[in-house]
Point group: D2
Chain length 338, copies 4
Amino acid sequence: MIVEMRRGCTQDQVDAVVERAHQYKFEVQLNIGTDKMVVAILGSHTGSVPTEIFAVLPGVESVTRIMRPYKLASREFRDEPTLVHVGGVTIGGPRIVVMAGPCSIESQEQLMTTARCVAQAGASVLRGGAFKPRTSPFSFQGLGPEGLRLLREAKRDIGLPTVSEITDPHHLELMAEYVDMLQIGARNMQNYALLRAVGQSGKPCMLKRGLASTVTEWLQAADYLLAAGGRDVILCERGIRTFEDGTRFTLDISSVGVVKQSSHLPVMVDPSHAAGHYALVPTLARAAVAAGADGLIVEVHPDPANALSDGLQSLTPSDFTRLMGQLKAIAQAIGRTL
Amino acid sequence: MIVEMRRGCTQDQVDAVVERAHQYKFEVQLNIGTDKMVVAILGSHTGSVPTEIFAVLPGVESVTRIMRPYKLASREFRDEPTLVHVGGVTIGGPRIVVMAGPCSIESQEQLMTTARCVAQAGASVLRGGAFKPRTSPFSFQGLGPEGLRLLREAKRDIGLPTVSEITDPHHLELMAEYVDMLQIGARNMQNYALLRAVGQSGKPCMLKRGLASTVTEWLQAADYLLAAGGRDVILCERGIRTFEDGTRFTLDISSVGVVKQSSHLPVMVDPSHAAGHYALVPTLARAAVAAGADGLIVEVHPDPANALSDGLQSLTPSDFTRLMGQLKAIAQAIGRTL
Amino acid sequence: MIVEMRRGCTQDQVDAVVERAHQYKFEVQLNIGTDKMVVAILGSHTGSVPTEIFAVLPGVESVTRIMRPYKLASREFRDEPTLVHVGGVTIGGPRIVVMAGPCSIESQEQLMTTARCVAQAGASVLRGGAFKPRTSPFSFQGLGPEGLRLLREAKRDIGLPTVSEITDPHHLELMAEYVDMLQIGARNMQNYALLRAVGQSGKPCMLKRGLASTVTEWLQAADYLLAAGGRDVILCERGIRTFEDGTRFTLDISSVGVVKQSSHLPVMVDPSHAAGHYALVPTLARAAVAAGADGLIVEVHPDPANALSDGLQSLTPSDFTRLMGQLKAIAQAIGRTL
Amino acid sequence: MIVEMRRGCTQDQVDAVVERAHQYKFEVQLNIGTDKMVVAILGSHTGSVPTEIFAVLPGVESVTRIMRPYKLASREFRDEPTLVHVGGVTIGGPRIVVMAGPCSIESQEQLMTTARCVAQAGASVLRGGAFKPRTSPFSFQGLGPEGLRLLREAKRDIGLPTVSEITDPHHLELMAEYVDMLQIGARNMQNYALLRAVGQSGKPCMLKRGLASTVTEWLQAADYLLAAGGRDVILCERGIRTFEDGTRFTLDISSVGVVKQSSHLPVMVDPSHAAGHYALVPTLARAAVAAGADGLIVEVHPDPANALSDGLQSLTPSDFTRLMGQLKAIAQAIGRTL
């Protein structure tokens, strides 16, 4: 950390900064410029203390981080890419993994029809929501345990591993039994009680980016999962909140590259929630593959016009099949498979 | 809802829209313009269905809401302002209520010193965190149950009712026993499992605005609390996420006015988290009172330089006392008390 | 436009809305719901009047647009894609056009070296700044007229048409003589004096998106160019301002798709300014091509470490050549050429 | 500036950083930590070079500024508050200055009625737009020179100095003759050709904050005015662009405090453009005065329902008069006058 002192600060104020650094066992180097005194605080664990422990001291003008505030998720902690294995599927390797299925599980028929289609089109993981976090308490909230039962049945029939969102630590045992990978939604990215519980479970987990979270905060949230004992963590970009209202969220396509530079964890993209409209989903899916995402999670529904949730952003089976063809060509163009 | 049809849509497509509206028992009126056909969907509960049930139909160009998507929190549902009572203190009336105390409860001495000071300076509610949601898993996470015990002790000694943040539905019983009002933090504003649990408990609750949530979504989150049985809900603006980095968050001072127009619930402001720096807290506190906020929640620490969390944005007891004097003068200038 | 009346509004207030609509020669249809009265205002030029002419009337609750507020740039005005021709190069057709060159023109040698390299690697247009809009008045402001002279010389030698940014209406005559296409920068997207002057000149023009502008406002700015007599207008997405600080700006990759749905104008992407760092430029360039952009504008410098501006986001000639190979493969995968 | 080297960087890479610093005549101090090498670059003019001159060098991980990138507008350059004098009115002193008048000058009668009212209610400066920058080319663009003539006439009759927006450097001579203070609008905050021209004119100038500009960039734009020879510069916060759509823009009330800490220039607030709706203007005006703004600029129209622009956010004369009473009470409460 770099502590910039105010012009005209006293020697006592500088000493207090140095003393505090020493309390934390950090090294200190003083830089005495003509205008400003700057104190460099060095040490490999400076990233894990908040800047304010220095910023709050009298005579301090500003404090700047050098070490990143996340640790376990960083490339500095582990340089080799993490490969996540979910029921025989590997995420983070050369093959781009597509997860697909309905937003909400609505019925056995709806789920099975979709599952069959997405499997046939080349998806490797089946998605389906049983507990749905909805903006309004008056909207459909999912089938709950019955949905999980249907999802497991679909898995047995079709042979694809499954992913479903967990919204409440109380559901952990139930969900761990029924699904292969847990998803933590954007609105719960900083629900630390949930992160800790999921991390402790040891289940593979897909962590969606919070809609107002920086990449740094997202990786700090991943640190919660990893620190609690999780290992198989996948990140998923799904759009952030901006002033633009032509799409539901603004897909931060750059985050794929930023994560790759900063972290060893695989990173996927959810084009459906970002777009908010089926007509834009293929555009974003193609961009994500070209940008280097390790996978996609796509909403598909056999009859979007009658979906109980997110129908507007769901692809029909035939649109999804067509999209998979395009994605395969792009994957090949960048030297990967799909 | 207003459904705009695409130019050149077919009669069948219009019929499908009308039929769907009738399924929901909505009234329909057709507006046939020279360029566009527009279908007005009318009825008092159109606000509680998502726009996409129409947007997803073929031939539809766009769908616009007329009724607001929140209901129980709206002025249309209840025109008279809600007064919330917390241990003898009324929030939402002519008196502006100041809640103050440390970010985290750190020790008996720290809490008691702060409590005495804020009570003397005119605060009506004592705040103090026992379970702290921190961005990094490596930061201090609060004293937990021991913190709650200290908070109750402080209440007994000083006589102020208390507020503390709940982060996990598992803690509900414990917290309901020890504190007078539960706080739901910004990062949990859309943690629906937590909202439901708190709403069902019937305890007074302060709902902070999510850092990427619109006022509309904030009121929908309040709907979760109210729909679950809560009544004593207070809203609290604490700054939203924007591109500006001169403050920790951008206090949306306008939201005080927008909430007053749209909702019957009291609205407070947290100047500490928005500013992120003690030197800016008084500026924001004064603005909030002048804008018409029903209360403030302010972080105060007897020794900010050694605080275990949020020291940088905590006022010292003497700064807080000085601020209270300024706020009283402004309250008087706008015809209220404090 | 849809005018929603307040509950309990008077007949006189409704009449005033109707009368105002008639003043503008709009058709009116009344929708009388059980809860709300809604007035539909219909007519093909409702998009060109501001909503506030109704919103300001007593008894009005809200006003919603049906017709889009831009006109000449819209697909409704012209359904067929506009092809822009710049010195023998066509933008908006099946071939993806890459424009490349240095941020600032610094010397004959720097420009010629870059020009030769980008031409060889397959770029079709040469970019180079002579008048540089810099955030600080103390930064290098470009070579001015001398830069333009060098640019024309490079064009003669290499045979590529040129594009350069115009920042001042006073420079129009000079620039129109020296360069083939004028660029309007993000910070000037709503500099209407400049838009009008450039539109009147009839020169091809690339209009960058303002960093806080919605796609709708961007198309309204294009309307200024088109209304003033311009025809050859190209849009260019270059990243918007958000809270994320891992990149210089957040590339709104979805905007490529949104523009294609809404407008007949070609749309390009500038990956250099969005990324702000050379290491992320290829990621964004690949995503842009896969998303369907009609072209790219990329900063290339023979010696980025000594560039006078934007060195950090400039590719070296060899990095650019490698990128062009990747982009060709992706273009082919989506059925286009480059 | 603080240059953080990558782990494992070579001695040559460090030497290159040092050499570059010496080229700029900066001092250098090396900080060799166990994990990272950090190079401190010191000197009073480091703020005026871009960080990328170091960031672009091989082996560099990141570069962080210590000195702020603006200079002439900073408190470090001039610690004493600047007082701006406009036709006998002083801005930046203990008295809070209210500027008021119509958005657009529409007719002599409209302007005179408004001017009389705002003068009587206590405004000290008359505002009125003659050249209007409108989002759509099809909206009313102002009366132009005729508007300026009416404004000067109103000044003579009523005795208030005037402020009006300049949108084109070509209008400078004309406007300098007719109005007392020039306004640079939010959309032109980084129109450097305009800033330079206005700075050179020596006229007092009100610089509105760009809607996606940080406070730092705003002060850099002020540097353009000051570097060109301007002295009498007033800053004006008018709301920034965020995701919240309940108001036209989000008033960044904190910026008043941030500017006061960082700059010697006076800072005003425009509650009208931020709110976008007359019903919220008083809320924001009260907050601005309480936060410590040196002045307000408020839109007032004798007949908002028939205004040619911004009617929705204009106060009627009687609302304005009532507001002035409230503001006087708040000003007094914080020890100022109005």
